[in-house]
Amino acid sequence: MRFPKPTKLRTLSQIVFFFLFLFLLLRTEFRGSLTASASEIRLPYPVSLFFQFDPLVAISNALSSHALYRGLLWSMVVLIPTMFLGRFFCGWICPLGSIHHFFSSFISERKRGKQLIDSNRYKRWQTTKYYLLIASLVAAVFGTGIVGWLDPFSLLVRSVGLSILPATNHALRASLGVLEHSRYPFVQTVSGALHFILGALLLSFKQPHFRLGIWLGLIFVFLVALNFRITRFWCRALCPLGALLGIVSRWSVLGLVKNPEHCNDCNRCLLRCQGGDDPIGGVPWHQPECHLCLNCVDECPEHGLRFQFFPGQKAVGVDLQRRKVLTGLAAGVAVVPLARSTSGFATERHERLLRPPGALDEEYFLARCIRCGECMKVCPNNALHPAFSEAGIEGLWTPVLVPRIGYCETSCVLCSQVCPTGAIWEITEREKGWSVDVARADKPIRLGTAFYDRGRCLPWAMATECIVCEEWCPTSPKAIYLQPVEMIDATGNSKQVKQPYLDPSHCVGCGACEYACPVQDRPAVYVTSVGESRSRTNQILLNRRKG
């Protein structure tokens, strides 16, 4: 048997890891089980696995928290081999890289022949990613996880999980709906079967919606579309993980050997070069840019290129300019103080900055959260959304609970289980403490406190019976209690209604009341962050516990 070509193996590896990633992302959803009545619900797959193998997340986590959150040690499995081999991860494993690779393979009007060859020569702007890396890691030292804005897995989960997949789900359901309402029984049967298959593979249990979803999707589409001009622009110029792996591959012992005597300047190695690392003869090879895709070896008609250990040829390392390094350093130093000197973080917190259960106090939370969207994807009630302004500019795309769209389910702790960095620290249902007498519980997690808008509340303002908020209140005793009162309605008749009041010692801020309130557009009961258990200062009562 002939050994398959290395590039074929690489493609196979890319496909396998891409589909593994997609599978895990699709399973970042509690789908319910008819076979298990286990009261403690966990996801059957380690859905945030890719983050644990991400050295960039690990280093940022270590710099900002002075520790490594569970599982992040696995990133050494990527980091250490890269020191010996180079950026194999970018060329063989990274699913975002594979997406860019795929879309780069289309030849466009502006990217063919000579233009294509020229565009694949090493360019100075490819070093932008190193400065971005420097800035985001320096910022991490100052206690922020903004590296997640650019981390490839954060970007991918956020874009695909919160925008592309929900849109796909919408399109598929709409199409299936048309087919299922067909007047022909045959079409109905086929679409029913199709629905079953898609339901098992792809469809969400219910249509998810995310704030800012379209913008996350457009950013992603834009980054992918750049490949039609410049092959893997993201990987070459922007990806901070690629930059990190490029820097550590400085000492790599695997390298490209060029045989100049074989080279007849046909430029074919440049045709399919992914990294823009100049594999062609006559110029030095840019080792930190190379993705080890092996296309050049495959392409060379004279067999003049090969990879070998200890190549014995000089290659160029990371091509940094001192001024730009200093700019990156300065940017990293400035970003956190600048963001936090604005009101919002220390003073004048946004009243709707409701964080998921288990979230650390804001300072620690912002240090760890990489804005990846895993928690938002997994939330069964679609309650978590990427923040726009609630958490200040630094908190862009961090998770906030939006009770009008979904409340925090009493016994659910899935967001804390998928969080890769411990921004939402892993908790159990017992630690959440909502299924016992909250006022007597040891330290129940509280997300905030509910308040009434009596001008909009039916029993308060309209002499109309309601009590839906009390019905939904999940604590026991309930945080919402009722007082019967005699009211005079518009016709002058006396009428008894029950008016709701809130007992802050029992309220956990889950938002079920706000979610269920029949005053749809601006609910008569709403949750604000004051009283959240993660904060010592954002409190109203001296002592919230009773008894």
Binding site: F30, R31, G32, S33, L34, T35, A36, S37, A38, S39, I41, R173, G177, E180, F205, K206, Q207, P380, N381, E409, T410, S411, C412, W434, S435, V436, D437, L458, T464, E465, C466, I467, V468, E470, E471, W472, C473, P474, T475, S476, P477, K478, L482, K498, A516, C517, P518, Q520
Partner: protein, 327 residues
């Protein structure tokens, strides 16, 4: 000056003109046709689907059975037996819908959902009677995936051989409930296609009506903004009960949620009564359970009288033929 003149033959010119004329005529025709079809969009008329699922009364058999004992499944068997056996209710080939309360993300011990053993035994009985399909469903309040799993009902029902259906948005149909205050509402279509409907609620405390029992369980067939129903709860309950008219009702009082209903959560709210109350008169059942466990008189539950006036049953449960048994 040189001009690029084109020599067009007469034939080509004619063909070209005809083509353009054809496209123009087509556009005009389509426009005319579409302009005749412009109506102000109205929601599709709700379909009328009202039909009873009740069976004929039998003066020799009790109308209500109150069975107390240790094993929920055995209680269920005995209750059905007292009422004349499952074959009285289910015919061979029936499509049976079993409607437990699976409203909340709670475990069986917390008594916010129907006891899974009771549900499973009802399913087995129906299968034994030769039912073609036994379907178990509910429109939950909390996330249905969690409710179905953690209530233990999904697993128990599946093992007992039922089809467990988590409602999908596509499964609701606009139905005219033909009630006094409830007209067009989205109803889960499984309720429209069943031959027999068995109501298996759990007895719980509720702040608005004192208790939530059998008739309140029909909230769980509706989609739409059902939080509005609370504003006229009694009329709503009667309208729903009038629409469904179940074959059989089994009120699960094995564990009752005495306080903090309908969600509960705290085991201290749960009282072990080890009793099932089954029967064919939904009004009498609700009246009996409300009196027996919450000491609520008919006067404090206006919906019972309204239901009786509508001919759905009698609230005078003392006058109903009742079989009380302790196993």
């Amino acid at each position: 000056m040189q001009s690029d003149s084109i020599h067009l033959s007469r034939r080509d010119a004619l063909v070209k003109l005809l083509r353009v004329a054809g496209a123009g005529a087509g556009a005009a025709g389509l426009g005319l046709w579409l302009s005749k079809h412009s109506w102000r969009p109205e929601p599709a008329l709700a379909m009328a689907a009202k039909r009873g699922h009740t069976i004929a009364t039998d003066p020799k058999l009790p109308e209500m059975a109150v069975i107390t004992g240790d094993d929920p499944a055995q209680l269920t068997r005995q209750a059905v037996e007292e009422l004349g056996g499952i074959r009285r209710f289910i015919a061979r080939g029936d499509i049976v819908l079993v409607k437990p309360n699976i409203g909340w993300d709670r475990t069986p011990e917390q008594a916010a959902n129907t006891n899974p053993d009771v549900v499973a035994e009802v399913i087995r009985q129906c299968s034994n009677a030769g039912a073609k399909r036994v379907i178990v469903t509910d429109v939950s309040c909390n996330d249905p995936r969690r409710c179905f799993q953690r209530s233990g009902i999904a697993e128990a029902a599946r093992l007992a051989g039922a089809e467990v259906v988590l409602p999908d948005p596509a499964m609701f149909k606009d139905v005219d409930l033909q009630g006094e205050i409830l007209r067009a509402w989205p109803v889960l279509d499984l309720f429209l296609n069943a031959d027999k409907i068995i109501n298996v609620p759990i007895a719980k405390h509720h702040s608005l009506t004192g208790t939530t029992l059998g008739m309140k369980n029909w909230y769980g067939m509706l989609g739409g903004p059902r939080h509005l129903l609370h504003q006229r709860i009694h009329e709503s309950l009667v309208d729903l009960a009038d629409f469904v008219r179940p074959t059989l009702t089994i009120v699960d009082c094995y564990r009752i949620l005495a306080r903090n209903g309908p969600t509960g959560g705290n085991l201290q709210d749960v009282i072990l009564k080890k009793t099932l109350v089954a029967g064919t008169d939904p009004v009498a059942l609700d009246a009996y359970v409300a009196k027996a466990y919450w000491n609520l008189e008919v006067s404090s539950l206006p919906y019972l009288k309204m239901a009786a006036n509508r001919g759905l049953g009698t609230y005078e449960f003392e006058k109903v033929r009742t079989q009380i048994k302790t196993l």
